[in-house]
Structures are given as C-alpha cells and as structure tokens.
C-alpha cells in the first residue's frame, strides 16, 4: 500500500526534509542497499501520486543518460527525450528550471509536438521535470509522469523538490566515488540533503575554491565536502572559514 506524501512528509519545517529522506532510506533499507537515485525514483512514485519516475544524469549541455526508471513507461519517456532532444526533462536540463506539464494534451501550453505524441502513446498524460542542480552545478534531471492529467499540489511540489535535492546529493556522491563509504542508511550528519537551506556562504566558498584550487564548480564543491567530512566539521562552518579567509585549501592536496 503506497504511503501518501501527506502522511509521511507534510508539515512546514526543516524536519520535512528529514521525513522525505526517510522515505528514500526506507526504500534503500528494504532492498538492503545503499541509498541511490533508484530509491528516490521509487519514493517519488509511491509518495507523490505519480505513476512512475526516472532520473537522467547529464550536465544540460550534452545529452543525458538514464540512471534509473521505475517502469517501462518511465523508461520510454526518459529515452525518447534524450533521443529527440525535446520535452519537459530536456527543457529542465537545458534551462535549469522545473518544467511542470500537468496536461500534455493541451497544445497551447507546450511546444513539444513530437514528444507530446510519443508520451501520449506511451501512456503519460502529465510530466513533471526537476533539474538536479546546486546553482551552477548541474548533474541531471528527476522526471515523473501521471497517466491522468492534473498538477502536483503544493505539498507534492515541495516534496518533489526535496526529492530532487536528495537525488542531486546522491549523484554527486556517486561521481565522487564515495559509493563505498559507510554512510548508507542516513545522510551524513554534517551534510544535510536540505540543499535549499544551504547557506549563501556555502555557495560563496564553493565559488572561491574554483579559483583557489583551479578546478570547476562541481569539483570545488566535492573538495569542500570532502574537506569538511575529513575534518569532521559542518559544511557551513568550513564554508564560513573559507569566506572569512581563515582557511585556504591547498590545490596539491586531495580533499
């Protein structure tokens, strides 16, 4: 019996993030694995009143690749957009904003002639696409579909955004090759998946590290997190020290 988002992840405070995270980690635990974007997809499909979900990895410039899907319809929706270079997920990746197409049949709202038809044939009436990003760091898209038209309600939208934040962190972890670290069942205590609450200083410190280390923004963020983790310090405290110029990271040392 699917759990309703309203029961599991309602409310109006920071613990809402923790409750959404619980949906993901419970899914990982049920298959005795480490949390991954596949668990995010299942959590989306079971908690947001959508028919299926998928995650594609990509930087928004090059075509993405499907990382996980919950069903065959989701699979074909993910792949047809990569192939066509058209559709809500494609737009979400390129423009970096959520694209919420609550009624694909309404041609006055959207410009995806080919995708719209293909989606209809596959059995989707609505598609919602969320970019996986932290500012300029872009790692992919979380997509979901409904077999009946209709928008996400406010609570579902908020929870979908939180799931997108969690998927972003999980994809970054996977890219960092941290797949074997022992933090499987819970988010690292020092590095909450509550991306939206990320202090401005974390973003500023990440930008500063691109110059200090001579690396791209995604790598700079990985180095910031790795340093905080290695020192057992909160990400926001580490960022504060960098922004106030009490700490510089050395380009020659990893992490």
């Amino acid at each position: 019996m699917p759990q309703r988002a309203e029961d599991e992840a309602g409310g109006d405070d920071a613990s809402r993030v923790a409750r959404v995270w619980k949906l993901v980690s419970a899914q990982a635990a049920s298959r005795r694995g480490r949390a991954s974007v596949a668990d995010v997809c299942v959590a989306a499909a079971t908690s947001l009143d959508v028919s299926g979900a998928w995650v594609t990895a990509g930087d928004g410039i090059n075509p993405g690749q499907a990382m996980c899907v919950t069903d065959v319809v989701g699979e074909s929706l993910a792949e047809v957009q990569i192939t066509l270079g058209e559709g809500p997920c494609h737009d979400a990746a390129v423009y970096g904003v959520p694209v919420l197409a609550a009624d694909l049949a309404d041609g006055t709202e959207h410009q995806w002639a080919v995708f719209g038809e293909a989606a209809g044939r596959a059995g989707a009436a609505a598609v919602f696409a969320f970019p996986l990003r932290i500012g300029a760091i872009r790692v992919g898209v979380l997509g979901m579909y409904r077999d009946k038209e209709g928008p996400l309600d406010t609570l579902q939208l908020g929870n979908a955004l939180i799931l997108a934040d969690i998927a972003t962190m999980l994809l970054l972890d996977a890219e960092d090759g941290q797949a074997d670290d022992p933090l499987s069942g819970a988010p690292p205590a020092s590095q909450s998946p509550d991306l939206a609450a990320h202090h401005a200083e974390i973003a500023q410190a990440t930008g500063m590290l691109t110059e200090q280390l001579g690396v791209g923004i995604t790598e700079a963020f990985a180095r910031l997190r790795a340093y905080a983790y290695a020192q057992d310090r909160r990400l926001s405290d580490t960022a504060h020290d960098i922004v106030t110029r009490r700490l510089r990271l050395d380009p020659d040392l990893p992490g």
Partner: protein, 247 residues
C-alpha cells in the same frame, strides 16, 4: 518621500521588466530603493520556497548580522506572519516584541534595528513572499510610505512571474524555484570573483552587477557563464597582471 526618486524607481522597475529581465537583479533594485524611499535602514526580499521555508533572495546589504536575521525569519518573525496572513505586519518598537518573536527580536535589536515592517507579495489568493523593512529608530513607518511600499511589493510580484503564462497554476512553483536557483548561482559567482580580485562579497556583487549592465547581460546568465569560464573570457573581471603574479 523623494518624488523624483519614486518616479525613477517605477521607471527603473518597468525598464527592468521590459528589457532582458533578471529576477534577482530586479529584487535587489527593489530592496535598495525600498531603503532610499521608505525611510528604512535595511530591506530584504524573502520568497516562500515550495519546500515549506522562507528564503532570502535579495537584501540591501550583505552585512552578516542582517543576513542572520533574515535566516531566523524562516522560523519566526514579521515576514513569516505577513506571508501566512497575506497582510502587512508592523512592529514599531521591537523592544516590546520579545514575547511575540523571541529569537528574531533579540537578533534584530543586537544588530541595531528597533522597528520592522513586513509587506506581503501577493498574487490573487497566493502569497509568494514578503518585502521586509528595518529601521534603526523606533516609531511607526509612515502610512503613506507603506502604501507606496505595498505598490512596490506588488510590482515586484508581477515582475517575478511576468516571464510566464499566468494562466497555468504550475508557473508560480516553477518561477519561485528558478529565482532560488539563480540566487545560488550568483552567490557562487560572487565567491569566484571575490577570490580572484581579493574583494569582499558586497564589492564582488556590485562588480558583477555593473559588469552585467555594462555588457547588457542578465546577471544570472553572467554568473553562470563566469563560473564556467577561463580568466581570458572575462578580461573585465580579471585582476591586473602584476596582481595575479604576486599571489
């Protein structure tokens, strides 16, 4: 009220909306002008994140203490009340507000603010955020000024959404999230520029805004391109050669 500045402000806001529009730049213009026009010492714009929190997207100053106050407002305070009720919330003397908002009031008083006024940013039945005004003297904000303030806040609300078709209910969520993301990109770019030129964050932000205006770029587009760029791509945002070598 400086009538000329008021006229200029509406002209500037309208210009920003007609020309290539950047929502964060626009909301910063709003918070700067709110200070100059409305007898406030500081101002900030907070948006209601669909995740259920309030987020600061623009402020008249980067003073750390001011930013901390805004952060507290995610939990309690006049802006949260204004957004929940859709009505302006005023506290002319924060020394009397300790019980109403304990943490917020303590932080605001410590930072030297003694009066606050929060104006909701409304669109029909929805409240998207709030314009928050602080003053370093107790006493009520002028009612005529606050009517102007509400007009500015309403203009900002339209500006926030104007790019898109308002008939679709989903647009508000899309636009709020786009604005919140833009803010993060700009913070990252500020950090990069601050490190490169040895600037503080306020100066880095001003430099980026001026560069964007001078080159007819949207601030968030500039920020994104600058983050992905090599130093050679932005000669105007590169230190003189001797400075770079001395590092």
């Amino acid at each position: 009220m400086d009538q000329e500045l008021l006229s200029d402000t509406f002209v500037d806001l309208a210009d920003t909306m007609v020309a290539d529009f950047d929502v964060i730049d626009f909301l910063h213009l709003l918070s700067d002008r709110a200070v100059q026009l409305l007898g406030a010492s500081a101002a900030g714009v907070m948006l209601a994140d669909p995740r259920g929190q309030l987020r600061l997207v623009a402020a008249s100053s980067e003073a750390v203490r001011l930013l901390e106050i805004f952060q507290l407002e995610g939990e309690e305070g006049p802006c949260l009340e204004a957004i929940r009720t859709g009505q302006p919330v005023s506290e002319p003397n924060l020394r009397h507000a300790q019980q109403r908002w304990p943490q917020f009031t303590t932080a605001a008083l410590q930072a030297g603010f003694t009066a606050v006024h929060a104006l909701p940013m409304r669109l029909r039945e929805q409240v998207l955020g709030g314009l928050n005004l602080f003053r370093d003297q107790p006493g009520p904000f002028d009612p005529a000024d606050m009517r102007i303030g509400q007009a500015l806040a309403d203009t900002a609300t339209i500006g926030l959404l104007h790019e898109r078709n308002l008939r679709r209910a989903e647009v508000v969520g899309e636009q709020l999230q786009a604005a919140l993301n833009s803010r993060v990109v700009i913070e990252q770019a500020k950090g990069k520029l601050a490190e490169r030129l040895g600037l503080d964050m306020d100066s880095a932000f001003t430099t980026l805004r001026i560069y964007a205006r001078d080159h007819n770029l949207r601030l968030s587009d500039l920020a994104q391109t600058f983050i992905d760029s090599d130093p050679a791509d932005f000669p105007g945002l590169t230190p003189p050669a001797h400075h770079r070598h001395s590092q």
